[in-house]
Symmetry: C2
Amino acid sequence: MTESRPVGTKGMPREEREAQLVVAGTEEFGRAGYAGASMVEIARRVGVTKPLLYQYFGSKDGLYLACLHRAGGRLTEGVATTMASGGEPERMPLKVLSAIFTTFDHDRYAWRLLRDATVPGSGDIATAAADYRRRLDAFALLGATQLMTSRGLADPVDIEAIAQVWTGVVDSLISWWIDRPDEDATAMTARCARIMDRLFGW
Amino acid sequence: MTESRPVGTKGMPREEREAQLVVAGTEEFGRAGYAGASMVEIARRVGVTKPLLYQYFGSKDGLYLACLHRAGGRLTEGVATTMASGGEPERMPLKVLSAIFTTFDHDRYAWRLLRDATVPGSGDIATAAADYRRRLDAFALLGATQLMTSRGLADPVDIEAIAQVWTGVVDSLISWWIDRPDEDATAMTARCARIMDRLFGW
DNA sequence: CAGTGGTAACTTACCCGAGGGTCACTTCAC
DNA sequence: GTGAAGTGACCCTCGGGTAAGTTACCACTG
């Protein structure tokens, strides 16, 4: 990325190798969950051995955190700019979906890291993941509030529920997408647009 | 249940103990996922030790299967009778939700067993879970088809996506519900009715 | 109504393999 | 010869799984 070509020694510069490992880790953690994923398997994926992985990331938690921060950062950033761009409330869901699909077209497992139920209940990972979720939930809450005030507003707990359901919808769309590698981001967005139109008239 | 009072020996008849263990297992598997759950923790929950758990269920997979079959059986049965009762397509989602909430009011983690991503990719559990999911998906697909033909029908892949999103919605509603133990089944159903009315006019 | 055996419920103490984590070493470019 | 990239071989804990024993109740016997 920054340095163009070979750097220190035989294989690959650290920076580049780390990026590979984060990508592989994201896929493996996303697929099997924190508890189910294996460090040696992640190393194997990029054709390297476990000690190197540990030299670069320190621990399983360290690697997970690296993956989580990359995913969480890109996600919150993308959603934030989309939400900031404004527009009518009924258009926001599709715009957000489009942003997510585009950003994570080649990294579809990333989303799952924020909502992994198998991470230990306390510790750095749980804290960081909860923080990203909190930020995303805030956007969802904002969107839900705007949507509901444009209709006959409901009570705040209803809005909370709507926001959570929305994140669940994103979740299931991404799961569905993961199972269909041929479908790219634009096709996915078009499909969602079609569905929302037919189902709700949005 | 069948025998009324004390049976064999000191503690509790096998049948009753097994039921306790299945309940505890369902909660623990639902909370931490198959990979993250611990057999000794499940045993500890009901005040018993691991070997008894193994004597009764044979293996972790055995216990998981017992939990899965209880959950899956009740779920498919409940949804089947609800779907069979008929009605306008737009009313079905709420009726199904109501059935699920009522059935699992005191067993909220059960739903998650069918959709646990941390079970090994092959084996009895994966097969059984996939089977229950297939049956539920068939209902979702049926409901989605009815709904979409009542509007200007979409292509079959869209309907597949809608069905999957629907299960995701159920998923997130149940997660939300788990975090709010005070909310009972009727309150939850009422909330969903209110939301669907305001959001889609259903 | 001892005593005695049978059996179901249950435990203590252990085995073992998988996986997280580490150390000492090698290879290669400069 | 220095230092980064990388490895083989190891340790150790945690958790699934087991063997062998213990406790308490019941059903018999004499």
